[in-house]
């Protein structure tokens, strides 16, 4: 049986899922973008307020599995206060590393949905396949 310290559902992932950081919407965001994963119905959207090239404020909203929502929550923590130029450098490996768990190929889209929102929304790198 799976246990409480189950590799996949570590406490901090569950914590981010149940108590998402930076959750909600911004009034008058400079950038707002949403992506979904039709296969499982995960949705993640992000609102950004940019000042002097830096992400001054960020909120995310969405629904879906624990991996997609925790990944979004973790990413917003990292993005807040970060210059956009730095944000651009965040890679798939960075996001997966931050989750710190083995993601099966079937769930990789869940884990990377938030990064896709950042890439497409914040600097227009549309259509990159995350597989």
């Amino acid at each position: 049986m799976a246990t409480a310290d189950d590799q996949f559902y570590r406490e901090y992932i569950l914590d981010h899922y149940k108590n998402p950081r930076n959750f909600g919407r911004l009034d008058h965001p400079d950038i707002s973008h949403e992506e979904d994963n039709p296969l499982c119905g995960d949705v993640v959207g992000m609102d950004f307020r940019i000042k002097d090239g830096t992400i001054e404020e960020i909120r995310f909203h969405g629904r879906g599995c624990a991996i997609s929502q925790a990944s979004a929550s973790l990413l917003t923590e990292r993005l807040k206060g970060l210059p956009l130029e730095e944000a651009k450098k965040i890679s798939k490996q960075d996001v997966l590393g931050e989750l710190g768990i083995d993601i099966s190929p079937a769930r990789i889209k869940c884990a990377l949905l938030a990064l896709k929102v950042l890439k497409v929304g914040a600097y227009g790198l549309a259509g990159e396949d995350e597989e």
Partner: protein
């Protein structure tokens, strides 16, 4: 056959025919694809090792053997669904190809601008998208029969749609997403009465209950081998002979012709007119072995076993707090239970179940219009077959409780 005279399935003995269970998995995804017994893989291996050759072409002995075995499956399938003739049994890759064949070869000839096609909200994408493409090409329109809160088709709405004189009615006999068993015989009769051509998607019914296409009265009936103990890549289109005779080929090429001249080509007789190119010979032979296996069990006994497992699972799942089961009561559903858990996404549940070696499907089950209708993105789905035992259901319940504990 009455239930009283049924020989119940000997599930422990059946499981010994399926080597995959030695891995310790609880397999609850048979509506997706079934497992395959040694008898099926053995028949395919025998072909590869003893008479591997192409069919319908060569004069040597092993090619004759391959042709005989390949064609023998046709008679087995004819018997299984009680078709009038093997000429009405066309091999395809599966249900999807069978429906596409009808949409292409029948639909392009008979569906015209302004025609009505009636489908249902329970249909699988494979019985929706080919008709959407056809409708867009021809300027036809599609109406979908809705469901009630039990996941059963609104027969009043269906009757109203039939009054508009649809050219085609297509629906699944059993919903893959909810398990609903539709009143197919009545629906086919009403649709025929209204003058429609009727296609029944039998992907989820053929593996699990007795089917008689002549009693059903439909014009086309499609199903897949891989959901009924056979291999992937071999499926069946049944079509009434006069309809198939009047249809043009779907794929064109080798083996579907009588003569090819620069001036033109004459097509082969039924059913080979629809079987162009080298076919999935080993897979078709495997499908024949699967039909033999199911006949050995008896389709009435198969249905009875699944009903018992479904009742058991339905009750066990209904006792779990925060769990919602979709669809009708067990007596009116096949061995499929779709459900959701409060606060736990189906994919998270499936991942946790996987840790316990419980194979559970999570997703939209290729029925996105139905998911939209139910106001959900996905469900978890457990589905059962001849080898399913109550212990596997118990293991699922254990995984669900574990997921609830982790997410509490």
């Amino acid at each position: 056959m009455s239930v009283a005279t049924l020989k119940p399935l000997d599930v422990p003995a059946i499981r010994k025919d399926f080597p995959i269970f030695e891995t310790g998995i609880a397999y609850l995804d048979s509506a997706n694809t079934s497992q395959r017994p040694r008898q099926v893989t053995g028949a395919m291996l025998e072909y590869f090792e003893k008479f591997n050759s192409n069919i319908h072409r060569a004069a040597y002995r092993i090619a004759e053997e391959a042709t005989i075995r390949y064609e023998a499956t046709r008679e087995k399938v004819r018997g299984l669904i009680n078709a009038a003739s093997t000429k009405e049994i066309v091999y395809t890759r599966g249900t999807t190809e069978a429906i596409n064949l009808v949409a292409y070869s029948w639909g392009r000839k008979h569906i015209q601008s302004g025609d009505l096609i009636v489908l249902t909200i329970l249909d699988h994408h494979s019985n929706i998208v080919p008709w959407q493409i056809l409708a867009a090409e021809k300027g036809a329109r599609i109406e979908y029969v809705d469901i009630d809160e039990k996941g059963e088709l609104l027969q009043d709405q269906f009757a109203e749609l039939l009054k508009q004189g649809p050219r085609l009615v297509a629906f699944n006999l059993v919903s893959n997403a909810l398990g609903t068993i539709n009143p197919a015989r009545e629906m086919v009769a009403a649709a025929k009465q209204a003058g429609a051509t009727v296609l029944v998607d039998g992907a989820q019914s053929t593996p699990h209950q007795p089917v008689d296409v002549r009693a059903l009265g439909c014009d086309f009936y499609a199903f897949s081998g891989h959901k009924m103990l056979g291999p992937t890549g071999a499926g069946i289109l049944y079509g009434r002979r006069e309809l198939l005779e009047a249809m043009d080929p779907f794929m064109a090429g080798g083996d579907m012709i009588k003569t090819v001249r620069i001036e033109g080509t004459t097509y082969h007789d039924l059913p080979w007119k629809f079987e162009a190119g080298t076919q999935a010979i080993a897979e078709v032979i495997g499908l024949g072995a699967a039909v033999d296996y199911l006949n050995g069990l008896g389709m009435d006994a198969v249905r009875q076993h699944e009903l018992e497992i479904t009742e058991y699972a339905y009750e066990a799942l209904s006792e779990i707090d925060g769990l919602t089961v979709y669809g009708p009561p067990p007596s009116r559903r096949a061995g499929v239970i779709s459900f959701s858990l409060d606060g736990i996404h189906p994919h998270d549940l499936a991942t946790i179940a996987d840790r316990d070696q419980v194979c559970l499907r999570a997703g939209h089950h290729c029925a996105m219009p139905l998911m939209t209708r139910l106001g959900i993105a996905a469900t978890a789905r457990a589905s059962f077959y001849v080898y399913t035992e109550k212990d596997e259901v118990d293991r699922l319940v254990g995984s669900i409780r574990e997921a609830q504990r982790i997410f509490s």
